[in-house]
Symmetry: none
Subunit: 210 residues, 4 copies
Amino acid sequence: MRKEPRQARSREMVERIIAAGREVLVQAGYEGFSTNRVAEQAGVSPGSLYQYFPDKAAILDEVIDRYWEHNAVLTERALGDRVAQITPDNTRPVIDALLTAMEADPALLRVVHEELPQARWRERRTQLVRRVRELTTAAAIALSHDDPHAADAAWVIVIAMENLATKWVLDRPDIDRDDFIEELNALVAGYLHQRAQSRAVGGRQRTTSS
Amino acid sequence: MRKEPRQARSREMVERIIAAGREVLVQAGYEGFSTNRVAEQAGVSPGSLYQYFPDKAAILDEVIDRYWEHNAVLTERALGDRVAQITPDNTRPVIDALLTAMEADPALLRVVHEELPQARWRERRTQLVRRVRELTTAAAIALSHDDPHAADAAWVIVIAMENLATKWVLDRPDIDRDDFIEELNALVAGYLHQRAQSRAVGGRQRTTSS
Amino acid sequence: MRKEPRQARSREMVERIIAAGREVLVQAGYEGFSTNRVAEQAGVSPGSLYQYFPDKAAILDEVIDRYWEHNAVLTERALGDRVAQITPDNTRPVIDALLTAMEADPALLRVVHEELPQARWRERRTQLVRRVRELTTAAAIALSHDDPHAADAAWVIVIAMENLATKWVLDRPDIDRDDFIEELNALVAGYLHQRAQSRAVGGRQRTTSS
Amino acid sequence: MRKEPRQARSREMVERIIAAGREVLVQAGYEGFSTNRVAEQAGVSPGSLYQYFPDKAAILDEVIDRYWEHNAVLTERALGDRVAQITPDNTRPVIDALLTAMEADPALLRVVHEELPQARWRERRTQLVRRVRELTTAAAIALSHDDPHAADAAWVIVIAMENLATKWVLDRPDIDRDDFIEELNALVAGYLHQRAQSRAVGGRQRTTSS
DNA sequence: TATGAATGAGCATTCATTCAT
DNA sequence: CATGAATGAATGCTCATTCAT
């Protein structure tokens, strides 16, 4: 019981450091993410950082983890509400949820996507993606029961959606939000129909050979 | 004319530095790209770098420039050979060319896409993308003459293609190369048909409003 | 109050660096004044310098400032004691004070006068000089109330005094200290009398015209 | 005889390098005086410098030597013309000559006096000074035949003249040229009379003792 | 001789990390 | 626990000098 306050203290410090880390990441970018700055932002001495994290990388890892977790939760929640409405022809709720999640913190989104060495957080990204992928695979399969390439299609859709949504938020192309959702919906729907049709017609045509 | 050998010497040195720069970039990553390492890799003294490049950034820029130029040339050439075969229903040659270009140097592709701060080289990327985009816009318009959103569709397609191809090369999902080309072709074709059809049916349906 | 030792630590470190800086300046000269050398001389790591000074120039500035301040204080004190005895015919106390100040640290005097780019520290020098100049102007005016060239005379005297004293300390000509003071006193006194007399006789004679 | 052209070539190159060195010294200052700049200014390769001078310092030495030599010649010539007019009461021609010499190249004068480490060229400076000193000593002795301190007086006068003239040219105080010459003349004349008088009255008065 | 590419020790400065207090 | 002064290896870059051609 006497340990409680200490534990509480620890958690509080960890949170403070992570919050400061996120702030610094957003304000100063990946290259400006220095331990001194994080410590200063957290109102803590540089040495204290090392009581809670083994090194600078660990702080950054935690910040990024939190970011993906946060996004995953947002998406989960959004999907949970609307999952009933989703069909291969109407993926708008999913896309909307995705966009909403990304629009929550564009500054951090930018740093995460454009400044971080992606390799280090590849696994983390997967977690957000997974749920959407599952749904998509289900949809692809629903449309064409015995498609041996359904998983491929799901991969294509998820990657495309994630990147298009990200780029739309970051690069702000001159496309209205609703129009954009419409385009993505058309992309998915068209893709699935096209595939179903190709299979019905009798397999793939190959015009190239590598 | 008697100066030729000297010029040759210069070129040789420039090439050596750039090759070393590329090597360091691949091996040590963007953060490990230091002038001392480049010099060492080139078997040259640090001072020599500065006879051929004004500063570190210039070396890096040249490495990246070469990369994009290389890709652009490869793509151009590939497209040149097959451009006649391209239709909205058969984008396989374009996709194949794109993949081939990217497969040429996956290690560098990884650094360029996953470690470089994108902001600094945004413009470079555009140059390769442009040619594909033009073709795509043309295709979108061809399919639906008075579509006010043709440019949106082109944006969607180009971003999707670029990212899917990149991710396929880098993340090596378990998808056969030909199958992958097939999927991308279906994605584009399905998308364009879906859009054409939606427009024919009488405008868009909106289920969400933000 | 409990912070005192820390403050003391800081002061101590600053003093150590400045002392080292002075030592390096004297031993290695202006051109040899490098941060690494200062750090080594201070028995400190190069990085530590930058906790107390923003850059190399700041260390150097502080060393020079201290030097001038020290000189100014010495001179002020010396003058304070003897100012009553000063007349146009007896400037010995001023000269003595000036010499005493300069003799305090001839090695540093040498660097300051012979190695520093004067432009950068012109202003500093002025501060010490000013007091003497005021006294001198007063003396010049006292001797000849309505002389429009009194300021010129003050300038001549101050520049001459400063340089003669400096050169005497640095070049160690074979002149006894008391004899030297006597000579300078004669120089000033003779100058002022000569000028007063010339004016009385009826203005200046010009033998040259430019 | 076949060696003549080579020798001529050598001389020419040496001259070119020295001229370039002077130019660089004036334009870029002592800190900007780099071998590369000198070579470039001379239209010569950096390596060639080392055929004629052992190192950078040697070039600089020669430039400074020439400067003092030049000044000495100018002064000699000026004095030669007017030496008959010089008396203890009329040093105007000497001063005028001194000023004229210094005014010939104020930019170089500035570098030589305010940027160069004086210690390295102490001896050179002496050469210009010597002639004036001799004349002055003669004048001092003329005024007071058996003065054991005549040499001291000469030293005082020469140092004072040199520095006052230099400072006048460089700092451009608000003193008319003719007025300035008048002041210096008064300084010398007054000084010599004062000393003669003191000696006549019966030796020196000491009010200070160190 | 003359060249100029190549050198490499040296510079000022930064910042993740440690450790005595 | 928390501190923050101290560290020192590493950075990008300069420039006097050398030497193969």
